[in-house]
Amino acid sequence: MTPMWYIVLSAILFSVGAVGVLIRRNAIVLFMCIELMLNAANLALVTFSRINGTLDGQIMAFFVMVVAAAEVVIGLAIIMLIFRTRRSASVDDANLLKY
């Protein structure tokens, strides 16, 4: 089994995430889709690291995990704020700013 399949898998995961952001309403699920995209990138990094025979990609994956964790903190804070005010986690409800 060639490592290239992992790249294909990561591309599929990335696409699922990217499309998921478009079709789901719940802010938490939306956010999880974005996390999925980040993890797809991680998978790609690790796979390329294997293909290229260097360790850089694996180290980069760790960096990405840290950044993603920070992003979760910020993201959940903002989503909580909205949820407490609106009693709903649907992103479509936040629709005051437009045109």
Partner: protein, 625 residues
């Protein structure tokens, strides 16, 4: 010191800023700050003047920063200091300081005097920029600056309708001239690719004769507008609505000579084309006669002086138009005129100060007993302007007349005799003014108690009077030789024998002056009627400014109005239709596109994703295709 040219205008600029910002808070110290700033500039100018003498060649240039540094269009905030500039700097700051000092007294009771001094310093700044620049854009910057300051100061007493109207008139007539000037700058950009003096003069030879003629005419139009020359002279006498120090500084000594400066500075353009020179000479001659004739018929003391200014600047135009050595003569005359005309304007202001703002010379008389200093100083100015030796006017005007006789063909006779006739008329109307004001019987309105002005006003008068007397000796110093190198190609001008010997011209000049003065004294020595009497065709015409206003109306205003109406019609029907259509298109498009901004985060994400796909697709297309 010469490396810090910017200090010259930075000091009055700083002072103007402080004054305009502090307003009423500066009522006590403001005017004095206003006086000190140009005085410091004068001292600096003097130091630079002496440093300049040791340079060879006598010119220094510096580019402070780049204005428009894009592509081929290189315009820098560049300064230049050469003898011509030096003379102007000294005139502007020297005479300017004296007039500022005088204004401290004259404006002492005006509530807005701080603003006045702010504008006054602003004017000095702009005027210095005008003469210090090393390119035409800098010149234009100062040019608009002095225009603005002049407009603000003419309508300084804006509550008077006449002052407001006069301000507008000056503004509009100047615009006509400015349009010419800016077109000239565009022409230089287009054909010469530079506006720097040195480079323009180097490359101007490559222009065709016609382009050169057009360039010169445009510059001349600008110069005529600023200097009140025919046919744009009408605003200058009306500008006397401003406070008298304004008339003295801006509309007699400095700003109105900016036109002469432009022509003198652009001498390689004007010297290169004889048609152009002939036009300049003609403009000067017509204006000088026009000013004299109208001056004879006016009764308002400041207006007589204003028309006299018009006519004297006519002499200067005549001088710069003659070219060659006469350039320097015109500049020296300009300098002397700065002294004696400022002197007389301030004298007139002093008279008005003592006579409750009366301006009608028919209502003066016998003031010599009451205002000794004003009388004596005014007399110096009077003798100077009519050209009695050994005062300055004789030494500076007579050579111009002589030069007019040296054109080498029949035009010598025409311009020479016109200039002589001008001298006769000048003597006549100036003597009329002098006699009616200071001598003869009292013709005052009731309740007048004339008195001498305070020292802060007469001290500048004394200095200016001294200047009026001695400025003529500049002709016998090295200043002339010193100025000549500025005017390139002076040596190459063919020398023509004057059609009359020099001594004869001198004698004739003095004789005409004495004749005119004697005539006026004989007629007006015993006073005159209190009201203008009905008079013959010539006098009535002169009283009506020789119908030049009517001429302007018929020749410029009416066709202008028709043109405007026609343009408005075309604009309303055609251009606006197109513009409105486009605007509606953009507005409608905008209204529809706004709807795409739905406010839903997911649709935003969709547009990003689609954008990303498009970018990727396009990149791949470029790569593969």
């Amino acid at each position: 010191m010469l490396s810090n040219l910017w200090l010259l205008f930075a000091i009055p600029a700083a002072s103007a800023t402080i004054l305009l910002l502090s307003g009423k808070r500066a009522l006590k110290w403001g005017p004095w700050l206003g006086v000190i700033a140009p005085a410091i500039s004068f001292v600096l100018g003097l130091i630079m003047f002496f440093q300049l003498r040791d340079l060879n060649p006598r010119v220094t240039e510096q580019n402070l920063w780049s204005f428009i540094p894009v592509g081929d269009l290189q315009v820098s905030f560049g300064l230049m200091f050469d003898p011509l500039t030096a003379v102007f700097v000294l005139l502007i700051t020297g005479v300017g300081s004296l007039i500022h000092l005088y204004a401290v007294g004259y404006m002492a009771h005006d509530e807005r005097r701080v603003t006045f001094f702010g504008y006054f310093n602003l004017f000095i700044t702009a005027m210095l920029l005008l003469v210090l620049g090393n390119n035409y854009v800098m010149l234009y910057l100062g040019w608009e600056g002095v225009g603005l300051a002049s407009y603000l100061l003419i309508s300084f007493w804006y509550t008077r309708p006449s002052a407001a109207t006069a301000g507008k008139k000056a503004f509009i007539m100047n615009r006509v001239g400015d349009a010419g000037f800016i077109l000239a700058i565009f022409l230089m950009f287009a054909y010469l690719n530079t506006v720097n003096y040195g480079q323009v003069f180097e490359r101007v030879g490559s222009l065709s004769a016609n382009t050169m003629l057009i360039l010169g005419l445009l510059l001349l139009l600008g110069a005529c507008g600023k200097s009140g020359q025919f046919p744009l002279q009408a605003w200058l006498p009306d500008a006397m609505e401003g406070p008298t120090p304004v008339s003295a500084l801006i509309h007699a000594a400095t700003m109105v000579t900016a036109g002469v400066y432009v022509i003198a500075r652009s001498n390689p353009v004007f010297s290169a084309n004889t048609t152009l020179q002939l036009i300049v000479v003609s403009v000067g001659t017509i204006t000088l006669l026009l000013g004299c004739i109208i001056g004879c018929a006016k009764d308002d003391i400041k207006r007589v002086l204003a028309w006299s200014t018009v006519s004297q600047i006519g002499y200067m135009f005549l001088g710069v138009g003659l070219g060659g050595g006469a350039y320097a003569l015109a500049i020296i005359h300009l300098l002397a005129h700065g002294f004696f005309k400022a002197n007389m304007f301030l004298g007139a202001g002093s008279v008005m100060h003592g006579m409750k703002d009366q301006v009608d010379i028919r209502r003066f008389g016998a003031l010599s007993k009451y205002m000794k200093i004003t009388w004596l100083t005014f007399m110096m100015g009077w003798l100077a302007i009519i050209g009695i030796p050994p005062l300055s006017g004789y030494f500076t005007k007579e050579p111009i007349i002589a030069a007019a006789f040296e054109r080498g063909d029949w035009t010598s006779w025409l311009f020479g005799w016109a200039a002589l006739l001008g001298a006769l008329l000048t003597a006549f109307y100036m003597t009329r003014l002098f006699v009616l004001t200071f001598h003869g019987p009292k013709r005052w309105t009731e309740g007048q108690h004339p008195h001498e002005s305070p020292p802060v006003m007469w001290i500048p008068l004394v200095f200016l009077a001294i200047g009026s007397v001695v400025a003529g000796y500049l002709m016998h110093t090295s200043v002339v030789d010193w100025l000549n190198p500025v005017f390139a190609g002076v040596e190459n001008v063919p020398e023509y024998e004057p059609v009359m010997p020099h001594w004869l011209i001198s004698v004739l000049g003095v004789a005409f002056a004495v004749l005119g003065a004697g005539l006026a004294w004989a007629i007006f020595g015993r006073g005159t009627a209190l009201e203008p009497e009905p008079a013959g065709v010539v006098v009535t015409a002169a009283r009506n400014n020789l119908y030049t206003d009517a001429f302007n109306e018929v020749v410029f205003e009416k066709p202008g109005r028709w043109l405007t109406r026609a343009l408005v019609y075309v604009d309303n029907k055609g251009v606006d239709g197109v513009v409105n259509g486009l605007a509606a298109l953009v507005g409608g498009g905008s209204g529809r596109m706004r709807r795409l901004q739905t406010g839903f985060v997911r649709s935003y994400a969709l547009s990003m994703l689609l954008g990303g796909v498009l970018v990727l697709g396009a990149l791949l297309a470029v790569r593969l295709g």
